[in-house]
Amino acid sequence: MNAPAATVQAQGPSALGGDFRRALSLTWMLAVTDFKLRYFGSVLGYLWTLMRPLMLFGVLYFVFTKVFAIGEEVKYYPVYLLTSIVLFTYFSETTGGGVQSLMTRENLLRKMHFPRIAIPISVALSALFNLGLNLLAVLVFAIASGVEPRMSWFQFPLLVLALTVLAIGFAMLLSVLYVRFRDIQPIWDVVLQITFYASPVLYVIKMLPPELQREMMAANPLAVILTQMRHAVLDPSAPSAAEMIGHDARLLIPFGLVVMVFCAGLWLFTREAPRIAENL
């Protein structure tokens, strides 16, 4: 804090550099403010963060157990459905919120010097607060449905971490692209919709035609995360991600995808960071 730093600034603001502690408290503050404001002025307030996934769950649960009756063959299908909806909501909130994040913070970006990365990270953090609240509801629901706590639940935070890394990667990528191309917004809305059905949220991976199972597991990290979640948290007899993809080593493919998205996002974000303020 106290070092009289000599700084030469010719590059413009960086994505990451500067006072780390300040960046951290800034990120935290942005996320908390965003979270506070989200349901500000609504009567039910924070309850809405719960209501949205719960209502979606209610509708889907009715359709898929009463109308199509596919829930029968899956143990704890309602819990699986709710958990996967909550996780997918987290992913779509982070990435979807990330798209316009730089735009909505224009005022800050143009008037203040700070590491730009604080903005997409704060979006993810704010979504993470929501996820935390939603998971409390999921926990109550799971226990009430008879799911038994076990050691493998400790895998769950790791799965959330992987999901977070993937989502932040997309958020960085999309936020910077949106500054240049306003089409990113509708495009990403469509992509998210497709991803919702192309991921085992409503169904489990086993229900797919066998030849599709491996391909989806390899191409869609969300499928891996949700499948492993089912195995580790809900039902140990359900196939793990490694089993579904065929071989432990093949897990490197989705893992590599996550790392790749994150690195691409970080690279582009770092590259564009100094010019974000003037391009907005």
């Binding site: 009289p4 404001l37 303020a277």
Partner: protein
Amino acid sequence: MTGRGFARSRGRADTATGRPRPLVPFANLPATAQQPAVDHPREASTPLHAVSVEDVSKSFRLPHEQYSTLKQRVLHPRRSRTFSELRALEDVSFEVAQGEFFGIVGRNGSGKSTLLKCLAGIYGVDDGRIDVQGRLSPFIELGVGFHPELSARDNVVINAIMLGLTRKQALERFDEIIAFAELEEFVDLKLKNYSSGMSVRLGFAVAIQVDADILLVDEVLAVGDASFQQKCFDQFDRLKDEGRTIVFVTHDMDSVRRFCDRAMLLERGQMLNIGEPDAIAAKYAEINFGVVGEDGSSGGPGLPRTRVARAWCENGSDRAPDTADTFTVGRGEACAACMEVEFIDAVEDPVFLITFRNDVRHTIYVARSDLDATTGSFAAGQRATVRFRFPNWLAHSTYTLTPAVMTSDGRITLDQRVDAVTLHVDTNRITGGVADLPTEVEVERS
């Protein structure tokens, strides 16, 4: 440009301020209540400049048509490539000494704010070097990140964290901030219900808590009522006393004269001038009124050319030498404010006026020629001497006189010499007012 040579003379910036300053300006840093826990280790060995800018250029690309959707870009791949370049800054060089109050002035679009953003590191520069010694305040405007839906309490904390304070520090200083902004009764009111003056006061109150060596400030004094402005001025004085360096962008020449040790004038991205605030302010007035006085003859386009050649004061008995620009008069003395005007083109009914301003830049009196009579016509090449005779009932103080010639409707300034004359009124009677009128006192007991 004028400033180039100066910028190269590193470490001697102090001599250029024209005001005596200690070599180690922070030796006796007063401990203030505002900054209890923070101390700034300032080493005598650090270079004397706080900010050094060398040959900085910055341009923006302005696309001729804004293509921001993919479809447009795909359909017109070539067209989107055309853009014009706006040179916002061109080869700007200057140095700001540590502890200096430095003003950047210029008209709208002259590049002042761009320069400030480059200094703050918000924009990168295309060319040149910016060297900053010491911690820089991170933002350049008041109330960055204020959210209308949140209460003053939340906004103060948010704003303070953006400034680099911790949440704890922000909460500790909260009462002080609110007290300074005089908003004790409105702490829990949402910011959207604040008047604009109130939120600016709040922004200023937080901003002065900043714990930085170098403050960058963009147009802050434009708002607030007179009493709050005075408070802001006091805070600037305090920061100055603490040895902070302040770089200050403004249109307001009065605050430049009042606070700045030095100032620079930007015009179309180029540095026109750097130096004494008075000289810069005068220059600024000239470029603003379209009168370039350098060769002494040019008027604005389409306007008759006139020139205020000289201005002086006379008081009955002794006439000061022609070259003097400082005069002293006593109380009640008959005196005259005079100007000599040269008409290069013919002018019909020009208005002559001399504006008297006091040391805090309030206009005290305007002597003008158009109130009772017209002045008639002046032929090209004619010269005229104008005298405004008056008994001096001004209060004891120092005044500056700005002679000017305007068109007959009094709307357009043909030429003026800002603060051409300094007038000391020496009465040794302090009345507390700006005038010291001949007064008879009568006390009647009943």
